[in-house]
């Protein structure tokens, strides 16, 4: 359902054609990383740490190397030494010094499942058997999992080189020696003391969130071949082939041009397939053996060692006037980065209060290392936890003031020109349009039925990314257009970019053949992530189309013997002019293409583009729940996700993105969490016990698309994929408050936690 009444008339944009990769994916022919088979290929497997925190005293691989079929074993010592630095991965950064130690542990293992050594053998089973023969002597160290405990003066220290001079409130972090606080940041505007002085009501609450995993269905994999001439080829499942190339080049200290990364089809990423884990290890094993080495992660390793989100501990204090005007906010966010610094707390800070026009505010963020896997980006990284806390407090304020929860949000909604938390003005945004669409929706106006049912709402904000993309297009004599993409296709990239090129050229979508290619075959393209791809790739497709139009006009002018300025290209791809004899002439697109071989050759164009004119996304969700008071089980009865998408290029994929984000958010709200035992070992590293929702846990997710075009994009595109994961935790939490009168301050709200509240205290 599209809620926007008027938009430009497009021919291709807004239709729902079949995706180019669809047939191969539904018939099982699409090639994923696990499908790679190469002559002489070896199989690699990784030995992982059994402890939460330990010093590696000694590694003895001799018995494993003696096992028939084992060809090589590598450890951290086989990598070149790394200096501290910053690699820009598009959605987050990496410090090579920490990255290499995460790929294979240095002198310490910092979490249960941390990679310690890697084996290459002639088959997978022998590689696995060899792992059991590697002798590792550990000195087990005290560990810390909880983010608040990690900041205490008594906490075990993970890294000797971290210092802080700022503390979170109420935590005695030492400022004169080592600490686990890796970074503090603050943004503020206005005068919060004055703001709170104006408030008629002030509510302050603390919230915690568990660690969540992206839960992509395809585990990490990587195959590498280090050729004798020094050329390295990597086949992998990644969101960014160029990000893999940069990381591999840095970790192996090889020139970028020696490395070719071939992105295979990807079975989900959600931000988690940007850092490398296996690729550089496979390359090292290949260098040692002279043979291609294929690696993939068992599911347990995916949970243990690839990036979950940060567990968080957050404090939110908001003041409001009686009429619901929000006047001041003081927010403190503490995010557990995992074993190495670099949680998404920065984005958490910038998003926390973004759904509101709030004059006086201060937000502090702390990045804290803990003995848990190094966090990675996960769909709107950092935003769900901070906005959940804010949206919960706003809900409590609305209740206390007896104001409809959407009315209070409407009253404080930002609009174009409203400054963000850092004081910068917002471009045109659809916050108010989203709120209006919710207030007018059938769902919001329906009556709740039955006992112990409740309704909750929450808003969500995400920036949306820009960054660099490159594509090439070749126009063929039959009128077809080959479109070469550097962007990996996760959520319908091929179709969405082909549609924008078709629109730009005025030709049918079916005439465009998009292909994703390797890093040697296309110019630099940043990751498919940050909700940037349809925006940035769309800009490139648009500019490719405009350049091709220009070339075809020039060609027609040359054929007709006239100046190009007298020739026009219509939006139906008809080229019109008069020839040198003054006779009216025209070519259809297909007609001029047929003339290529005899009039100067084919038309091929490459465009690289980097635009920062992104349009932020606003989302608002409505959740209806029912609680079984006997068991604590929550049924989501009805769920509606409303979002300003700018322009929906392919509405079915846009709806699919929004539904997927909502579903992941509902999982985080009710079921998913990492569970560590008293030794700091992750115990639920499987889809059995890490409970992502299954289809029958969910109602249909209704989607309302609001289209407030982004003026910074030729077709008005904003990003879509990330904003929908932001509202669910608070929407569900607020619905539970409505249903059973209990405010929860931890997410997920599992049946265990609900019963804990409903049953008498023991």
């Amino acid at each position: 359902m599209v809620a926007t009444p008027e938009k430009p008339v497009y021919k291709v944009i807004g239709t729902r054609p079949i995706r180019p990769d669809g047939v191969d994916k539904v018939t099982g022919r699409a090639a994923y990383g696990a499908d790679i088979v190469l002559e002489g290929m070896l199989f690699g497997s990784i030995l992982r740490a059994p402890h939460a925190h330990a010093r590696i005293v000694r590694i003895d691989s001799s018995k494993a190397l003696a096992l028939p079929g084992v060809k090589a074993i590598v450890t951290n010592a086989d990598f070149p030494r790394q200096e501290s630095g910053t690699l820009d991965l598009g959605e987050g950064t990496a410090n090579p010094k920490w990255l290499v130690d995460n790929v294979l542990a240095g002198d310490k293992t910092l979490y249960h499942g941390h990679a310690v050594a890697a084996v290459a053998a002639i088959d997978w089973h022998i590689a696995e058997e060899a792992l059991a023969l590697i002798e590792v002597e550990y000195e087990v160290l005290p560990f810390v999992i909880d983010v608040k405990e990690a900041m205490l003066g008594t906490a075990p220290i993970l890294h000797s080189d971290l210092r802080t001079n700022v503390r979170a409130r109420g935590v005695d972090t030492p400022t004169d020696r080592e600490t686990n606080i890796a970074m503090h940041m603050r943004v503020e505007k206005g005068d919060i003391a004055a703001g709170f002085a104006e408030a008629d009501i002030v509510i302050e609450r603390e919230f915690t969130t568990s660690q969540f995993h992206q839960g992509y269905i395809e585990p990490q994999n990587g195959t590498a071949y280090w050729n004798q001439d020094g050329q390295i080829t990597v086949w992998t499942s990644t969101q960014g082939s160029f990000a893999v190339r940069e990381q591999v080049a840095t970790l192996l200290q090889q020139p970028v041009a020696r490395i070719k990364v071939v992105p295979m089809e990807i079975g989900g990423g959600f931000g988690g397939k940007i850092p490398v884990y296996l690729e550089p290890v496979a390359a090292l094993l290949s260098k040692q053996t002279g043979r291609p080495v294929k690696m993939w992660m068992p599911r347990e390793a995916v949970f243990q060692a690839t990036g979950p989100t940060a567990a968080t501990w957050n404090r939110v204090k908001i003041g409001a006037k009686k009429d619901g005007t929000l006047v001041a906010a003081d927010v403190e966010l503490c995010y557990a980065a995992g074993a190495y610094p670099g949680s998404a707390v920065g984005a958490g800070v910038m998003c926390a209060l973004a759904p509101y026009n709030l004059a006086n505010q201060r937000i502090d963020g702390f990045d804290v290392v803990t003995n848990t896997p190094k966090t990675a980006a996960y769909r709107a990284p950092g935003a769900p936890a901070s906005e959940y806390a804010v949206e919960s407090v706003v809900d409590e304020i609305a209740r206390a003031l007896d104001i409809d929860p959407m009315v209070i949000r409407e009253k404080n909604a930002p609009e174009e020109g409203t400054t963000n938390s850092a004081g910068a003005p917002l471009p045109r945004i659809g916050a108010k349009a989203v709120i209006t669409a919710i207030r007018e929706s059938a769902h919001y106006n329906s009556e709740l039925q039955g006992e112990d049912t409740g309704r909750g709402v929450a808003l969500g904000f995400w920036f949306n990314g820009g960054m660099e993309s490159t594509s090439s297009a070749t126009v063929n004599p039959d009128g077809s257009v080959s479109l070469i993409l550097g962007s990996v296709d996760i959520g319908g990239t091929r179709a969405s970019l082909a549609m924008q090129l078709a629109e730009s050229l005025g030709v049918p979508y079916e005439q465009i053949k998009p292909q994703v290619t390797d890093t040697d075959s296309v110019g630099y393209t940043a990751v498919t992530g940050g909700s940037r791809t349809t925006f940035a790739g769309g800009w490139v497709a648009y500019e490719l189309g405009q350049e091709i139009r220009k070339r075809l006009v020039e060609r027609a002018a040359r054929i007709w013997g006239v100046d190009a300025s007298t020739v026009t290209y219509s939006n139906d791809a008809v080229i019109t002019g008069t020839d040198k004899d003054g006779k009216a002439q025209q070519f259809t697109f297909d007609e001029i293409c047929k003339r290529f071989p005899t009039t100067g050759g084919h038309v091929a164009v490459t465009v690289s583009s980097r635009k920062n004119t992104t349009g932020p996304a606003y989302a608002g969700h409505i959740a209806d729940v029912k609680v079984d008071r006997d068991t604590g089980k929550v049924t989501v009865l009805r769920y509606t996700a409303v979002q300003d998408v700018g322009t929906a290029i392919h509405p079915a994929y846009v709806e699919g993105q929004i539904q997927g984000g909502a579903v992941q958010g509902i999982g985080m709200a009710l079921q998913e969490e990492y569970w560590y035992d008293d030794q700091g070992r992750l115990r639920n590293g499987s889809f059995l016990d890490y409970r992502m929702p299954v289809a029958n846990d969910l109602p249909p997710i209704e989607v309302i698309l609001v289209e407030v075009p982004n003026p910074g994009h030729p077709y008005g595109v904003r990003g879509v994929g990330e904003a929908p994961i932001v509202p669910p935790m608070a929407a569900i939490r607020n619905a539970l408050r409505d249903a059973i009168g209990v405010n929860f301050y931890h997410t997920p709200v599992t049946p265990t936690r609900i019963l804990d509240e409903l049953l008498p205290r023991e």
Binding site: E128, T631, L670, W675, L688, V694, N696, D697, L759
Partner: protein, 289 residues
């Protein structure tokens, strides 16, 4: 996973001989949904799988209104829950078989395997216990019968001696006006392991309960019979109070642990809730008979 041998037995005697010759590291293979996973994860050292799926006795299911139901130990779950007699007479068994694993697993997994694996949270065991299930066991010392309610001794352990395996399971025909039911609590709606499961089989005369059996899973080291719940109900009229008393007895009997799937408090409470639910469902079934 280490390389291992596979042998196919075509008779019970042949399977017994293969297991004896294979020694301690030989293992029965039925559906393999537990044991292959255990071998892959190196949780068991296995050198030999003896496949019993080609022995007709362990692959057939028979029902007779006098003699009751006999299910071969390796009959896949989908055949059990798809059987009209099981659905009509033993709904507790049908309900448990229907929720173990997903569809693909149900094409392979079996009652014999679920019992032999002896998990405290096994879904089918409480159902088999209240239905008076008896296992036919074959081994180096011949055949014997073991009641299902006396089968499990500890997590993953049972009364089976080295070389013994389950051939079939027998369930008597319930008396007139009997009903049975099974339920579990899981946080998801499928593909999950029971936080608690519960089963009940009872017989009524009018409003009075004349016989009852209760069993609980995932609340102790083995699936438990709950005689106190039966005592609270047998000889009494069915009322909210007597049903609640049976639930309270279940809560008393349960001795669960805190783990990642649930807490002591939650599990004891759920034992109460689920026992009351299975009583009501079993009574409904009994009245329909």
């Amino acid at each position: 996973m280490q390389a291992l041998r596979y042998a196919r037995a075509t008779s019970i005697d042949e399977a017994v001989r293969m297991l004896r010759e294979g020694g301690e590291t030989s293992r029965i293979l039925a559906g393999g949904t537990d044991v292959i996973v255990q071998a892959r994860e190196r949780r068991r050292v296995i050198d030999l799988f003896v496949d019993i799926k080609h022995i007709s006795d362990v692959m057939t299911m028979e029902y007779d209104a006098q003699r009751g139901l006999t299910v071969g130990a390796a009959v896949p779950l989908y055949q059990i829950y798809g059987d009209a007699n099981v659905q009509r007479v033993y709904p507790a068994l049908r309900a448990a078989a229907h929720v173990i694993g997903g569809k693909a697993i149900q094409g392979r997994a079996s009652l014999g395997g679920n019992l032999g694996n002896a998990s405290p949270a096994a879904d089918s065991i409480p159902a088999m216990m209240v239905l008076d299930g008896v296992a036919q066991v074959a081994g180096p010392n011949g055949r014997r019968e073991v009641r299902v309610d006396a089968f499990c001794t500890a997590p993953g352990r049972s009364v089976l001696q080295p070389g013994e395996f389950i051939v079939s399971l027998h369930f008597a025909q319930p008396a007139a006006h009997s009903g049975n039911a099974w339920e579990r609590f899981i946080p998801r709606n499928e593909m999950d392991i029971a936080v608690v499961n519960a089963a009940c089989a009872l017989t009524i005369e009018g409003d009075v309960v004349t016989a009852a059996r209760f069993s609980l899973g995932a609340v102790a080291a083995t699936p438990l019979m709950v005689p106190l719940a039966a005592e609270a109900l047998v000889g009494r009229r069915l009322t909210d109070e007597t049903i609640a008393a049976a639930g309270a007895a279940a809560k008393e009997t349960a001795t669960p642990i805190d783990d990642m799937r649930g807490t002591v408090k939650q599990r004891k409470h759920l034992a109460d809730v689920l026992v009351q639910r299975v009583i009501r469902a079993a009574v409904e079934h009994a009245r329909a008979n």
